[in-house]
Each structure stands twice: as C-alpha cells, then as structure tokens.
Amino acid sequence: MKRRDFLRNAAFAAAGTVFVPAFMKPFEALALDELSLYKNLVVVQLSGGNDGLNTVVPFGNDIYYQMRKNIAIKADDVIKLDDMQGLNPNLNCLRELYDQGWMSIINDVGYPNPDRSHFRSMDIWQTASDANQYLSTGWIGRYLDSNCAACNSPYTAIEVDDSLSLAMKGSSKKGIALKDPAALFRNTNESFFREMINGNKEHLDEDNLGYLYKTMIETSSSANYIQNTSKIYQPNYTYPTTAFSNQLKTVSKFICSGLKTRVYYVSLSGFDTHVNQNAQQGRLLQQYAEGMNAFVKDLHQNNKLEDTLVITFSEFGRRVAQNASNGTDHGTANNMFLFGGKLKKQGIYNAAPNLGDLENGDLKYQVDFREVYGTILDKWLDVNNGQVLNKRFNTLDFI
C-alpha cells in the first residue's frame, strides 16, 4: 500500500468512532480496511426452482419414500450428514467442503403466502418484497443506494453475465454486469465512446441526459479499474470447463486480485424439472458441486475464504409428492446453502423439513429469506438491514 493511501484510510477509519490520532493506531486501521471493508458476498442463483428434497435428502423420513416412489434417492446412495439428512450423490464434491466446516445448510427458507410462478417468486426473492408487494428495486441495489462507506461505486456489485438482474438495481445506484472484463474495457475505450464522454462535463445535470452521461462515465472508469486491477492476477487453480465454473473462476479472479467489490452475482439455469427429474437435476447438481468445490478451495488457497461468504438460493422448492411424469411441480420453502471460512454454525443450521406437517402438500417455511438477507446485511455488509429491506428483520446466527 502506498503511504498516501495508507494515511487516507487510517484517517477514514478513525472518523466517526472515538477520535484517535491516526498515527497511533495504524494496525487497527489496516485491520478495518482488510477485514471489514473488503468482505465479499457471492450470490449463486439456481433458476427454475431447484428441488430441495432431492438435493438435501431426508432419507431418515419414511414419508419422503412414500411420496416419491420413483424418484426418491435411495438411502444407500445418500451422502449422510446426520441421521435424517444427506446430500444427493451428485453433490459428492461438496462433502469435502462440508467436512472442512466451510458449508452450512439452512432448511425450509421461504416467505408467507408463497407464489408458485417462477417469475413472480424470483421477483420476490430478488426484490425482497412481501408476496403482495411490487418493488422496482432489488435488495442488493438498495444496499448500494444505502450509500455505506464501502459501497459507493458501480463496481461494488458485479454480476458475471451480459445483463443485470433486478436484484442488483437500486433507485439511484446499480451494479455492473460483465462477462469478460477485457471485452468491456475494449468497448469503453473505443474512440467513439471516448469522444462522447471526453470533455462533456456540462451534461452532468440531474436530468435524464445527465444520467446517461453519468452512467457512461462510471462504466468507463469501472471498466478501467476492473481490467487494470484484475489483469495482474494470474489464476493458478484449475476449474471444470462448464459455463457455471467459468463464472466462478471470474469471480475468484476478481476477489483474489483485491478488487474492492463487495457483492458478486452468478447463476445456473435449468432446474424446472417437471419431467424425468433425476437425470436432469443430477447433471446440474454435479456442475454446481464441481464448480463450488474448485471455487472454495481456490479462495482458501489464496487466503480469501475467510473474507468470503457464498449463498445459494432458488426461487422456490418443489412439491413434496412427485408428479406422474417422474418429476416434481412448483412448491414453496427450500433449503439454502452457505459457504465460507468464517461460518459460526457449520453443518445443518436448523431442523429438517417436517414432512408430516404440510400445507396443501407443500413445506411450511421455518426461516423467512429476508432474515437470511438481513443477517448478511447487518453482520457481513455492515448496514442496518431495516434500511435496505424497508422494515427490520431478525438476524440469525450463521455468521
């Protein structure tokens, strides 16, 4: 760190707390900088409604086998985690992470009056709204809007994709979507683009034209920053060759090169398994597990796992009973996975789903997903969750 930057950060860290001359506490200043300001959150979205009951299998419950005669995972095949639950064999690559204490599972995450439409339920998860409320901003977007000390640039939240999810859009600030930092860098350095933004200060008004120019200028400076910071880092870990693993590899490159980004967003599609579920879901779970295994171990090797929290969600789980086509239809509550080097409660976080107490054939939720978000906002992203979620949610004890 250059001396001048160091001094600025030290002064910054002291502001707002009990005033201590910066030069007296250089190590604490550094610690805040390293540990608090650059903790990362990685959100992994499984689109289509992943079947949680065949992901974390309640092999200890007979009802599971009664209701899923053709598609239940045999107890012998399950990777057992305790007497009741175990992992789908296609998640074999997660076992190692689980055994290291880098993984935990929250059962039955959902929300009141669940919606079974993909689009609507994804909307609810991404905006963190109530089931009967329509928000046009996402929860990470509103985190950016909250203007916290460490989230004031567009590269604070990066989605590794061509387009930006609603989750990442705030009302005044938005994250940035990019698949390839070099391509974005080339685009924003094309001569036409440069000519448009050079010397155009007079347009930076509050009106819509000013907004467009401001977006262009921010895109350009983010592209430069991301490219120049990340190109120095040479990845040294081998990932599987799937598209999903490629996204994680890009995220790892950003994290390991020290990018001051706090939230990353990636997704894996195809979980809407109405027909012949086991082969399709198995293939996807395997891609997921192989990617996560490489990602988590890569971060560990680079000493970044302690600063990283990964969450995985899907817009809903599926019905407890299978359907007539050896698949499952849209359901409600679902499990979420957490990964990281600093999990407070490792392993299974709460009780397994109660298959004997269903609501119209669906699981009842134990944990509101906004309590999970709220916990992360409060304890990991350093912002009061009520400010982002529009009302205060209780926090949980996983970090």
Binding site: S47, G48, G49, H118, F119, R120, M122, D123, N132, Y134, S136, P154, D161, D162, S163, L164, S165, L166, M168, K169, K174, G175, I176, A177, L178, L184, N187, T188, F192, F193, E195, M196, G199, N200, E202, D207, N208, L209, Y211, L212, Y213, T215, M216, E218, T219, S222, T242, A243, S269, G270, F271, D272, T273, H274, V275, A279, Q280, R283, Q287, E315
Partner: protein
C-alpha cells in the same frame, strides 16, 4: 407560432404519440396547424388491425386434444409425443405473436393506436398462459385503446388471460380468491390508499363466477357466484362485478390515477400534479373518454414546454421500433427482435409482474446502455450481436429438458437490412450533416455533436453515429 417551432413541436408530438416521423411527413405536417395534426393522429382513416397470429379454431381443437390426452391414465409414446408437439407449437406461436406485434408497430399507419396499445399493455400487465389468450387481450387493448375506459376495463377483466393470471377462475362463493380484486384497485384503477382491505374482500365476493370456458370465452358461472349482500365503499347491495366497476369509476381518484400514468408515459417521468389534476377533471367530466383526454394532453401548452421535451428515456420497444421505422429496416431473421427485447429488458407479453415495466431510468444500467448505443451500428450495418439476455424464468422447463449441457448461443448475426436508398431519398439533396443530426435527435445539438458529425464523410455515417449517441436514447 412560426414554421420552425411547428417543425419542432410536430417532431415532438410524433415521438411521443407515435414512433417518430419521416422527413417528408414532417415537412408536410409542419405547414398545418398543430390542432389539425393532432386530430389526424386521433382519427386516422385507416382501420384497426387486430393481431391474428393464433387461429381460434386451431386453439380450440388443440385444447380439446390436450384435455382428452390429460384424461388418460397411461399415455402411449405417440400420445406423449403429441403433447410435446403441442407445447412446442404453443411456444412457437408465443414468439410469433411477439414478433408480429413488433412488426405491426414498425409498419403501422395508425401510430397513436399502437402506442396507446403499448401503454395499456403495460398498464394491464399480464403474462397469459396461452398465446391465444395473450393475443385476444392485446386485441381488446387495441380496439378500446382510444375508446371508453369502462368498456376497456370490463373487457380486460373478462378476458381469459386476466381471469387466469389473477386467479379469478378460482374465485368462488365461500372460497374467495382476492388476487383480481386487489390488483383491480391497486394497479388498474384507484391506486394504493383509496380503498380498504374490507373493500377488497367484498369486491372479490362480487367477482365470484367470472370465468372462462374451454373455447376461451368469458362465461358467468351463476352456481359459484356469491349472491348475498356486499358492502363496498360503505354502500350495501347485491353487487356483481360490473356494479363494483361502476362504483370504482364513480370515484374521481380513478381518473387521477389513470391520468398520472398517462402523464408519466407520454409527458414526463416526474408528473406535475397540477397538470395531472387538470387532465383528471376533464377525463372524469368526459365520462372516461380516452380519446378526449389524449386530445387535451397533446394540445396542452405544457406538453410542448422545454421541460417536457427531449427528456424521456425511450423504452427498449420504442428504441427498436423508432429506429426500424426511420430506416425502413427489414429483419430477415425476426427472432433477433426477441433477443434484442430480452437483452434490453422489455420482452413484450412478458412483463416483470402485474405492475408492468417500471420504465424511466430503470431501463438504464451500464450494460443496457452500452448495448443500446451499439444496436444502431449492428442493425443498420448488419453486425453480429454477442450479447445474451437472461433466460426468462418461464423458459426454465425448456432449458431443463435439454439433455446435454449446451451453452446459449453467444453470437447471432443480426441479418437485417436498412433501406438506405429510401431513407436518403427522403432527405433534401443539399442536407448538411448537422441538419440530419438535429432531425434524428430530440435534444438540441451542442457544438460537440456538430463538430463530431461535420467530420462524417456522408449522411449515412452521420445517421449511424447520431443514433449511437446517448442523446438518441431520449425522445
């Protein structure tokens, strides 16, 4: 008003009330009085063109076949194949319907009607579970786009698309489903704060029995209608659905809510409440005549005021339609229009939720703006699109059925042709680059843009440069 002002005003009018204007039309209309031009927009001689992508008889036959297949316990492989074929055909029709409407907007001689249809498409936002239902709802919105709001509201409420989307099909005596009643008041008419939870419950009871049959037609199901007394807005009576709609329309707040949305769509993202109030009073007084209120809006002085011009961010559909109309673009592979809509965040017939597309600055983020600025050079210069929108969540089942992990295609040839000869022939022979730039852009030219375009070797280059500018995102 002098000629130059009229030129600017008519360009503004056609940008907002339609999808832009061609140079010869602009020349011709700027000789006329503004009120005459508005009249012609509101009362064109051209007939209304329905969408007719999905044939009703085919739809009925298909539904009957599906029902008979669904009734069987065991299906033969052929029957399973039949079902898969029907699903496939239905998905294809959905895409065709989308493209047909977009092409109709590009080609229309009735621009205000299509623009109003687009407005109602966002206002009565709906994801229909069958392209036939989606088409019929769209045709209802077009037919009544400039008619009476009550008829429009009634027909929308009775459409299978909406009955299904907002669960009124499941709304029965003793087991009310409040979804439709809630959205009717929150999003379609009154807006939050103008009704109580009791009003929603009582309205839901009144709409019991509103349903549709297997032929895709509205059918009132007397048996499940709750015939007992209801108390709605403090009044008690044996209300049915239509009575509830009458009571909602009797509240001036409905006129205000609709006029505020019209204002945001046609005038300014930030409504001037005094203008909205004036419009709403007139709309109410004219018994919710949409044509009358639009005439009032387009002839108001404030509609042409500086703060209300060149300040609206084009929606993705406006951007694509305006550009395609202006340059007479032919899409040899029209599916690209769907990829462009999803990439830009406005996939017609697939709104994010019943509240519609939020619009305004919500259209813009770093990636969507970069793509918007790239599109003119791709479409007008026949380039390659290396950008994918997100898979629509409703398509996840299709993705799940792909047995091999197949990455989505990365590059697509746009394969479109702009008719440059026709575009250039429309322009005066001695037109300067800067003149063309000020015709294509709504914001006034500054010296930076003038300097930039003066270096272009010809007008075609100027057109591509100018449409790639952030200024072109505004209308």
């Amino acid at each position: 008003m002098d000629r130059k002002d009229n030129f600017i005003n008519i360009k503004h009018l056609y940008n907002r009330a339609g999808f832009g204007i061609s140079y010869p039309e602009l020349q011709q209309f700027s000789k006329k009085r503004l009120s005459k031009v508005t009249d012609a927009l509101l009362n064109p001689e051209k007939p209304i063109t329905d969408l007719n992508t999905v044939n009703k008889d085919e739809f009925i036959a298909q539904q009957a076949l599906l029902a008979s297949l669904g009734a069987k316990k065991e299906q033969t492989p052929q029957e399973k194949q039949q079902r898969e074929d029907i699903t496939k055909a239905r998905n294809e029709k959905s895409r065709d319907l989308n493209i047909d409407w977009l092409q109709q907007m590009i080609a229309t001689e009735n621009p205000l009607r299509e623009k109003m249809t687009l407005f109602w498409h966002g206002h009565f936002a709906c994801r229909a579970n069958h392209p036939y239902y989606a088409q019929e709802l769209n045709n209802i919105q077009r037919k009544n786009a400039l008619g009476g709001f009550k008829t429009l509201l009634l027909e929308v409420s009775k459409s299978p698309a909406m009955l299904d989307y907002l669960n009124n099909q499941q709304n029965r005596k003793g087991r009310p489903n409040e979804n439709f009643a809630r959205e009717l008041m929150e999003l379609f008419t009154l807006g939050r704060g103008n009704y109580t939870e009791t009003d929603i419950k009582e309205a839901a009871r009144s709409f019991t029995g509103w349903a549709y049959n297997k032929n895709g037609e509205f059918e009132f199901n007397q048996k499940v209608h709750d015939e007992k007394e209801k108390t709605f807005f403090g009044q008690t009576g044996l209300f049915d659905g239509e009575a509830i709609i009458d009571l909602i329309l009797a509240k001036p707040e409905t006129a205000t809510f609709i006029c505020r949305k019209l204002y945001i769509f046609f005038v300014n993202d930030t409504p001037d409440e005094s203008h909205v109030k004036g419009l709403a009073a007139y709309f109410y007084e004219q018994k919710y005549d949409i044509s009358a209120v639009m005439n009032k809006l387009f002839t108001a002085d404030w509609f042409y005021a500086k703060e209300n011009t060149a300040n609206k961010i084009k929606s993705p559909v406006e951007l694509l339609v305006n550009m395609s109309r202006k340059f007479y673009v032919i899409y040899n592979k029209p599916q690209i229009l769907i990829q462009l809509q999803t990439s830009l965040g406005q996939y017609l017939f697939n709104p994010p939720n019943v509240a519609g597309w939020p619009g305004g600055r919500n259209w813009i983020d770093s990636s969507s703006l970069m793509l918007r600025m790239k599109i003119p050079s791709l479409v007008l210069n026949d380039g390659i699109l290396d950008f994918n929108g997100k898979a629509d969540p409703e398509d996840e089942a299709v993705i799940a059925l792909n047995r091999k992990p197949r990455p989505r295609p990365v590059k697509s040839y746009i394969n479109a042709k702009a008719n440059w000869d026709r575009f250039l022939a429309d322009l005066p022979k001695d037109m300067k680059q800067a003149e063309l730039a000020s015709f294509l852009l709504q914001p006034a030219l500054d010296t930076r843009i003038s300097d930039l375009v003066n270096h272009n070797v010809n007008l075609k280059n100027t057109a591509i440069a100018v449409t790639s500018m952030p200024e072109y995102q505004l209308c």
